[in-house]
C-alpha cells in the first residue's frame, strides 16, 4: 500500500487502462470478490493490485467486502498478508464430501509444530531443549513437506544455526490471521514460558551440545542457504 507497492504494481497492470481513472470502489469490491472467489489459495494485496486495473485500492475494497460477508455462509479471512474466502466453520458439517483427510501427525510432530509456532524463529537445538529429546529429521521433514514450516533466517549466534518459522499454509490451515493470534500466546508470554531461559550451569537435557542431533545437520543445512 505504500508508494513503493503502488508503483511496483503499476508497472504490471498499467497496460490496460492506465490512462483512465480507477474504477469506483464498489466496482473494485466486485473485482476483489471475483478474484478471491476464483482462488483456492490466499491472494496477497500485492497480487490483487497487480491484477486489478491501475489505481485500484484493494485494501480498501477488502474492508467493504469483509463486512459484506459477515454472518454469511462464506467469509473473507485474512491469512498472513493475504486474503481468502473460506466457508463459515459452523457449516463444516455440510461438507463431509469435501473433507480431506489430513495426514496423522505423530505426537512429536505436533509438539514440534507448536514449539515452532510459539517460539518462532526457533532453532533445532532450541526445540530439542524444550522437548528434552532430539528432534528426528523425519519429523522436521514431514512438517516441511506439508509446508506448515519453512526455514527462517539464521540466528546470529555461534554456528549461525538455521531457524524454523511457520508458513502461510499453516495460518490458513488453522484459521489464523497471523502467528500473533495463536491461542494463549499472550498468557504464555506473560508467564515467561516463551522466554529463552538459559540453563544455570549444565543441565543434561537435549540442550547439551554433546547430544545435539542438530550438530551434524548444521553443515548440510547451511549449504542450502549459503549463496
Amino acid at each position: 500500500m505504500s508508494d513503493a507497492e503502488e508503483t511496483g504494481a503499476g508497472t504490471e497492470t498499467a497496460p490496460r487502462e492506465s490512462l483512465f481513472e480507477a474504477p469506483p470502489i464498489g466496482e473494485q469490491e466486485r473485482m476483489v470478490e471475483a478474484i478471491l472467489f476464483a482462488s483456492a489459495e490466499p491472494v496477497t494485496v500485492r497480487e490483487l493490485e497487480a491484477r486489478m486495473p491501475h489505481g485500484c485500492d484493494p485494501a480498501e475494497a477488502l474492508v467493504y467486502l469483509r463486512k459484506r460477508y459477515e454472518g454469511r455462509g462464506v467469509r473473507v479471512v485474512k491469512v498472513g498478508d493475504a486474503w481468502a474466502i473460506r466457508t463459515a466453520p459452523d457449516l463444516g458439517f455440510l461438507m463431509q464430501k469435501e473433507t480431506v483427510e489430513t495426514r496423522k501427525l505423530s505426537r512429536a510432530a505436533i509438539e514440534t509444530l507448536a514449539i515452532i509456532a510459539y517460539h518462532q524463529p526457533v532453532t533445532r537445538a532450541e526445540i530439542e531443549e524444550i522437548r528434552g529429546v532430539s528432534v528426528s529429521r523425519g519429523t522436521v521433514d514431514q512438517l516441511l513437506e506439508m509446508e506448515w514450516i519453512r526455514f527462517g533466517r539464521r540466528k546470529m549466534t555461534p554456528g549461525r544455526p538455521v531457524t524454523f518459522v511457520v508458513t502461510q499454509d499453516f495460518l490458513d490451515h488453522f484459521g489464523l490471521e497471523n502467528a500473533r493470534d495463536l491461542p494463549g500466546l499472550k498468557e504464555l508470554r506473560a508467564a515467561g514460558l516463551l522466554d529463552n531461559r538459559p540453563p544455570p550451569g549444565m543441565v543434561p537435557l537435549a540442550g547439551d551440545p554433546e547430544e545435539e542431533g542438530g550438530e551434524d545437520e548444521a553443515p548440510g543445512q547451511s549449504e542450502l542457504f549459503e549463496d
Binding site: 472467489f37 476464483a38 482462488s39 483456492a40 489459495e41 491484477r51 481468502a84 474466502i85 473460506r86 466457508t87 463459515a88 466453520p89 463444516g92 461438507m95 469435501e98 473433507t99 480431506v100 489430513t102 505426537r107 512429536a108 505436533i110 509438539e111 509444530l113 507448536a114 514449539i115 509456532a117 510459539y118 524444550i130 522437548r131 528434552g132 529429546v133 490458513d172 490451515h173 488453522f174 484459521g175 489464523l176 495463536l182 491461542p183 494463549g184 504464555l188 508467564a191 514460558l193 531461559r197 540453563p199 544455570p200 550451569g201 543441565v203 543434561p204 537435557l205 537435549a206 547430544e211
Partner: protein, 265 residues
C-alpha cells in the same frame, strides 16, 4: 524373568503396582527423561510451579532403579538424567557450600521446574492448536477454483544487425552456388556407376581404368580429372558389390579392372 518380575513387585501395593506397570510398559513411549519427569510430576498433583523437585528426583531415581531391577534397558540419556538428579538431590539436601562454584541446588531445581512447566505449556498449546477449526475439516476453500489463465504473448524481435547478418549469410552462400551448380565439368560417381554397370559384364579381360572414361571427358584436364575420380570411385563400388576385380601392379602404375567371374561351387 517372569519370576523375578513377580518377586520384585510383590512388596508393592496394588495401586503402586499398577502405576509401576504402566510406567514400565510405557517406557518406550516416553519421549526422553524430561517427558518421564513430567509424567512423574503429575502424581504430585500440584501446580507445576510448586512441584517438589526433590521428590521428583526421588521418584525418577526409584523408577530407574526399578527398571534396572527388571533388566529393562534404559537409553543413555535416562541414565545421564538419573546421575544428574542424584547430584541435584545431594545439592538440595546438603547445606550450600560457599566455596563451591556454579549455580545453587535451588537454581538448578528452579530451572528444571521451568523446563517441565514449559514443556507442559507447549503440550497444552499443541492440543489447543490441533483443536482449532481447520481447513479441509471445519472450513473449506473454494472447491472449483478458476485458475488464473496465463495468456502468453510472444513478441518477436530482431535487430538490424540480425537482418544484415542474415542477408549476408544468404549472399555468401550464393557466391559459391554457381560452382556447385555448374555441372558442366563435373562427372559424378553416380553417373560413372550407371555407365559402368552397363559395361562391366563385357569386361572379361583386365582393362586400364582410363579406357572406361566416357566420350569427350579426356580432353579438358578439368573434365578429365573429374571423370577419372568418378570412374575410380565407381570401380571401387563395383568391387565392393562383388561385380568386379581391381588391381594395380605398383604405385602410380595403371589401374586395371575386369569383371569378376562367377564361382561355380
Amino acid at each position: 524373568m517372569t519370576d523375578e518380575f513377580e518377586s520384585n513387585i510383590e512388596t508393592l501395593s496394588v495401586a503402586e503396582r499398577l502405576a509401576a506397570e504402566a510406567l514400565i510398559v510405557d517406557v518406550d513411549g516416553f519421549e526422553g527423561p524430561l517427558d518421564l519427569l513430567l509424567t512423574l510430576s503429575r502424581t504430585q498433583k500440584v501446580d507445576l510451579r510448586k512441584i517438589s523437585v526433590l521428590q521428583l528426583a526421588r521418584q525418577y531415581l526409584a523408577f530407574v532403579e526399578q527398571a534396572k531391577a527388571l533388566r529393562i534397558e534404559l537409553a543413555a540419556d535416562y541414565l545421564v538424567m538419573a546421575a544428574w538428579l542424584a547430584y541435584l538431590k545431594s545439592r538440595l539436601l546438603l547445606p550450600p557450600d560457599p566455596t563451591e562454584e556454579g549455580p545453587s541446588g535451588e537454581e538448578l531445581a528452579a530451572h528444571l521446574a521451568f523446563q517441565l512447566e514449559r514443556l507442559q505449556a507447549m503440550r497444552d498449546a499443541a492440543a489447543r492448536l490441533m483443536a482449532r477449526d481447520r481447513l479441509g475439516r471445519d472450513f473449506f476453500a473454494r472447491g472449483l477454483p478458476e485458475g488464473v489463465e496465463r495468456v502468453r504473448k510472444v513478441q518477436y524481435t530482431a535487430t538490424l544487425l540480425d537482418l544484415m547478418q542474415g542477408y549476408a549469410r544468404i549472399r555468401t552462400r550464393d557466391e559459391f552456388r554457381p560452382f556447385v551448380m555448374d555441372r558442366d565439368s563435373v562427372y559424378t560417381m553416380e553417373q560413372a556407376l550407371e555407365r559402368m554397370r552397363g559395361l562391366i559384364g563385357f569386361a572379361g579381360q583386365w582393362t586400364d581404368i582410363s579406357s572406361w572414361l566416357p566420350d569427350g571427358w579426356d580432353g579438358d584436364p578439368v573434365k578429365w580429372r573429374s571423370a577419372t575420380a568418378a570412374t575410380f570411385a565407381a570401380s571401387l563400388e563395383l568391387v565392393k558389390e562383388g561385380h568386379a576385380e581391381i588391381r594395380q601392379s605398383e604405385t602410380f602404375a595403371p589401374i586395371q579392372l575386369r569383371k569378376r567371374e562367377k564361382r561355380h561351387e
